[in-house]
């Protein structure tokens, strides 16, 4: 099971209407439907994922997220979710603003570029970090906008986005303990629960 599911689930009220941006095979929406009785739709651009969604009984709409979300009305959803895709968007800042326009709340997860392994990689080798989680070279990676927890929080402050909660999730027990000590150094994946400032 994906490590971020429990955290995301904890942010979602039962019976919410949910939009999952880049929903993959629909795993998260299925999970939320079972546990929180959400109604929801996923947007996805990959044809294999779309087929899996259809087979899984997940409502999926074929859509390229970089084409924007302007076709969706304000406040259409209770929660808009984007997991591990923000860093691949043309303009993550505009995507965030759009997510908060169409949803009352939003949840984003992204790989933390300030994780110690990434820092160590850059420090010792002097090259852009390549890991199991992010196996691409700098020139062919779809992840064009990496950021750290701190960077993200600065953006939220600049754009008047209210952080309801921010946390990190990690795969192994040891890294979990460490992450509790220093999120920006030991947290692999960041999970943020956001809303508009009033």
């Amino acid at each position: 099971m994906r490590i971020d599911l429990d955290k995301i689930q904890s942010y979602i009220a039962p019976n919410s209407h949910v939009l999952d941006l880049g929903c993959g095979n629909g795993e998260l929406l299925l999970h939320l439907k079972e546990r929180k009785n959400v109604t929801g739709i996923g947007l996805e651009n990959d044809e294999d994922h779309i087929l899996e969604c259809i087979k899984n009984g997940v409502n999926v709409i074929e859509h390229d997220l970089n084409k924007g979300l302007s076709h969706i009305d304000n406040d259409s959803y209770d929660v808009v979710i984007m997991t591990l895709a923000l860093q691949a968007m043309d303009r993550p800042d505009l995507v965030l603003e759009e997510m908060l326009r169409i949803g009352k709340q939003c949840i984003v997860t992204f790989p933390n570029f300030a994780h110690w392994k990434a820092r160590w990689h850059l420090l010792t080798r002097g090259r852009m970090p390549v890991s199991d989680l992010l196996p691409y070279e700098w020139y062919d990676t779809p992840n064009i906008h990496f950021c750290t927890l701190k960077d993200f929080e600065v953006l939220c402050k600049d754009r008047n986005i209210r952080i309801l909660d921010g946390d990190v999730v990690s795969e192994k027990g040891a890294s979990k303990t460490l992450a509790a000590l220093h999120k920006n150094l030991f947290g692999e994946t960041a999970v943020y629960h956001l809303t508009r400032s009033v």
């Binding site: 044809e47 087929l51 259809i54 709409i61 074929e62 259409s76």
Partner: protein
């Protein structure tokens, strides 16, 4: 005589030999335009078996030039199967091992159901120009009556491409409790001005043919073949894409030569192809039906009576929706399907949408395309139907 083998191949995964049936309706049908059709016939075919719960029926709504013969062969000597044979049959997306499939020829058609070429029982003469204009809702009403007569309690799905998709959408808001799924392929909630313009040009080609005789050509014993042929050629161009046409025909010559010093008439492959298509169509289709069907297309506007608010219209629906479009379709472009999907999501309906890469233009919905077949199959397979108890 032909050998046994090719026929077997043709019948593999096929519904096999089928025969159309006719149902007579004597209860008058009040039409959207106020006129009344006192009685009428509907020709239809069925494939598969209706289960005991009568909840595995799938209604196929046909497009502009379609008819009731959607799958299988009429005889072993039939050269071509029904128009949607790639998608209807055992193990195919509309799986006849699970579903009881009903496909009819719509009223106003020219393949056996009551239409402009039928005899008006009141006058004992061919209806011709006096046949009432029909709207999509009139078809839905007559389809509803056919479903009732076949004792379908609730359609597992109402399915249609193009003009057929319009019928499926109308079903979803007119009879929400009569269907569980609505499959809308390469369709639109209303035609654009450009789309109406193509239809009008086609109609003008027909009505300008002297043999048209204001629609009463059958009484006058003439046939507007030339006009209908041109109308079909216009339509056909718009059903293909520029790329698709280029790939298939390019600038290949059927006859003649460009060589200097030779003066003989040239014919491009595309000219010959269109002429052949137009000519074949003009011998098998009724000109008044063509006018009637294109008018129904033009008049259709799903949201008109809901204050032009498609979201308000779809709020009446309770079924799930599966919407499909094709990238190179410019007659019913993906943009039109986006509009449908947006209205459905805003109405908080359950909707799945996929946009299939294809160079076949609008015709793509009839053609076997692997990704389309897979997605369509996956969607149809997830429709629940009652298990057949012991016999």
């Amino acid at each position: 005589m032909s050998s046994e083998k090719p026929k077997k191949d043709q019948l593999a995964n096929s519904v096999g030999i089928v025969s159309p049936q006719t149902m007579h309706f004597s209860e008058p049908l009040t039409l959207a335009n106020g006129r009344i059709l006192e009685s009428y016939d509907i020709v239809y075919e069925t494939y598969g078996t209706l289960n005991k719960a009568k909840d595995n029926g799938v209604l196929i709504c046909h497009a502009l030039s379609g008819h009731h013969h959607a799958a299988g062969l009429h005889s072993e000597d039939d050269k071509r199967p029904g128009w949607w044979d790639h998608y209807i049959g055992p193990g195919k997306p509309i799986d006849t091992n699970r579903f009881f499939v009903v496909c009819l020829n719509n009223l106003g058609g020219c393949h056996g159901s009551t239409g402009p070429a039928s005899i008006n029982p009141k006058t004992n003469e061919v209806w011709g120009s006096d046949f009432p204009m029909l709207r999509v809702r009139d078809w839905v009403e007559s389809q509803k009556r056919l479903g009732d007569a076949l004792e379908i309690s609730q359609w597992a799905a109402v399915v249609g491409g193009s003009l057929g998709g319009m019928q499926a959408m109308r079903w979803s808001i007119e009879y929400p409790d009569k269907l569980r799924n609505c499959v809308v392929i390469a369709s639109a909630m209303k035609l654009t001005a450009q789309n109406i313009a193509f239809n009008e040009t086609a109609r003008q080609a027909i009505t300008a043919d002297p043999a048209f005789n204001q629609g009463d050509y059958l009484v006058q014993d003439t046939l507007p073949k030339q006009g209908l042929s041109v109308a079909r050629m216009i339509g056909h161009i718009t059903y293909l894409s520029d790329d698709g046409m280029g790939q298939k025909f390019g600038r290949e010559l059927r006859s003649g030569s460009f060589e200097q010093g030779i003066d003989e008439p040239l014919e491009f492959e595309i000219e010959s192809y269109l002429r052949y298509q137009g000519s074949a169509f003009s011998k098998s289709f009724d000109a008044n039906t063509y006018i009637l069907m294109t008018r129904a297309l033009d008049y259709f506007d799903l949201a008109r009576e809901y204050g032009d608010d498609a979201v308000a219209a779809f709020k009446h629906a309770t079924c799930d929706f599966f919407v499909v479009s094709f990238t190179s379709d410019w007659r019913f472009s993906p943009q039109r399907s986006h509009e449908i999907v947006n209205a459905l999501t805003h109405a908080k309906k359950s909707v799945t949408y996929t946009e299939i890469e294809s160079s076949f233009g609008h015709d793509a919905f009839l053609i076997p395309i692997q990704r389309y077949q897979r997605a369509f199959s996956a969607y149809m397979q997830r429709i629940t139907i009652s298990e057949e108890g012991d016999h």
